[in-house]
Symmetry: C2
């Protein structure tokens, strides 16, 4: 059975017009007609009901079922191609959310260099949401991800690296700096500086806000953590970040949250379940697991 036929078929299911499908694949229209007939013969079934009275193309139940399987098959093929391409290029592509990169990556560069991995390693910096998508699509093979609940995905293998609480970051000039711990509800009158787009931080922040029934006031948003830290340093606002954010360069204090149900920032190492791991990928995974 030719997978080209499945491609024609899924396309026809989607756009429901033989001629347009032919156009899409740059073939003549009878090609599609015969391809569908071939599939119908192969599976001994009717895939479409050609109702020209009402000018509709109805998909049969068998057709729906084959559609599901075809999508999986075509996806497996593109995954295989992408995976093999990277194997041949001896490319190691690692997804890294910026916050995780800042905290962990410098730590293990030496180990990566020692293991002869660093020179072949390309990192892709992006948010955890788009990195998850990229792994699914086969654009990258391996990623560190941040999340506030353990990563559960049928198609992925995720192993937890570490859990860190979220903390409140205040200038040492701020009245709160005399405390070491604080409850989120005590921050009701504070001004926050916060991430513009970071999905995980937003999730955690929203969760705590809801648990405490108030909307914290955010006076400035940026995607740049250093910019935010500078603002906190000048005591223009306070911050809410996972504990792994580094304060060495600033006169800033981290306060622990006392809230019982406070979310945690979970760092996980993730790859596709059906990815055959190359020796260098295994090496990379081991370096990451052993040094983080």
């Amino acid at each position: 059975m030719n997978t080209k036929d499945l491609a024609y078929f899924t396309c026809l299911v989607e756009i429901k017009n033989f001629s347009k499908v032919a156009e899409h694949f740059k073939v003549q229209q009878p090609t599609i007609t015969t391809a569908i007939k071939r599939l119908e013969k192969e599976f001994s079934t009717t895939l479409f009901i050609r109702d020209r009275k009402h000018n509709t193309l109805e998909i049969t139940t068998s057709g729906q079922q084959l559609f599901k399987r075809s999508q999986i098959i075509l996806n497996e093929l593109t995954l295989a191609q992408k995976e093999i391409d990277r194997i041949n290029r001896e490319q190691l592509v690692l997804g890294l959310p910026p916050i995780i990169e800042n905290h962990y990556f410098s730590k293990i560069c030496q180990e990566l260099a020692d293991a002869q991995i660093l020179n072949r390693l390309t990192t892709v910096e992006a948010g955890s949401v788009s990195l998850t998508k990229a792994i699914h699509e086969g654009t990258i093979d391996l990623s560190l991800l941040g999340s506030i609940t353990p990563i559960k995905d049928d198609d992925l293998i995720a192993s937890e690296i570490e859990r860190q609480p979220f903390c409140i970051y205040v200038s040492n000039k701020h009245p709160l700096a005399k405390y070491n711990q604080i409850r989120f509800k005590d921050l009701v009158n504070e001004n926050f500086v916060f991430f513009k787009q970071n999905f995980i931080h937003n999730q955690a922040f929203t969760q705590l806000s809801q648990q405490n029934n108030f909307h914290p006031k955010i006076i400035f948003k940026s995607n740049d953590i250093n910019m935010l830290m500078k603002l906190i340093n000048r005591n223009l606002g306070i911050g809410f970040f996972t504990r792994i954010v580094n304060t060495d360069a600033y006169d800033i204090k981290k306060l622990t949250l006392l809230d019982a149900n406070a979310p945690q920032f979970i760092t996980s190492l993730v790859y596709r379940r059906h990815q055959f791991l190359t020796p260098s990928q295994i090496q990379l995974i081991n370096v990451l697991k052993n040094n983080l």
Copy 2:
């Protein structure tokens, strides 16, 4: 790309001999050579290292990766064929472990008849283990299953129907019949009659035995629940079954187990995640869910 090539390829990975693969598919040997070359060209990679020095056929990393994807693809194809076959025969095949069948099935026969389903329904009676395998392989589409832990399987959708405790079944002539509740450890000197092969009951029984540090004495084993009930009825032994086993025809009492961690018999309704449900399958699922 022809899926036949993937079949040749996976077979070659497994038996590592071009001629034998050709024999297996009843084609000539050059067919396999050219098929593999085709795949290598298609994916722009080397799949095998033909080491004739050592008379071995080594699979490359790309080959390993393609092997994983090929297996999934070929499996999807056979699943599709089986699913479509049943759709065309308008066949509704339901897997039923005998114990569940005895308890639930008679209850809902009327509803199934009313919904015009009963006449098209074929039941497959087998243990939960082989029914799970049958669903995976596409031999059946839908099954009730018994288990003592919730069913978690990436490829399946399982919805819990009911949880029932396991009970101790004793003759009303038995000294224990004066109690309503009992701890498992108090049964250390009792004689049990038990299932020969029932995996779920064996699991539960073993678990309780281990928790209580003794090996219960089993004096007779059978796969026939009625036979076992007759023996209990005659006070030749006591039984350990899920509470759903019916005692109406016997002079038998069910005792509740007081053990805190006593296992439970979970009845679930299960089907493949990527199964496109036909209208009559949805009907059947609804009847089962609403009436159990």
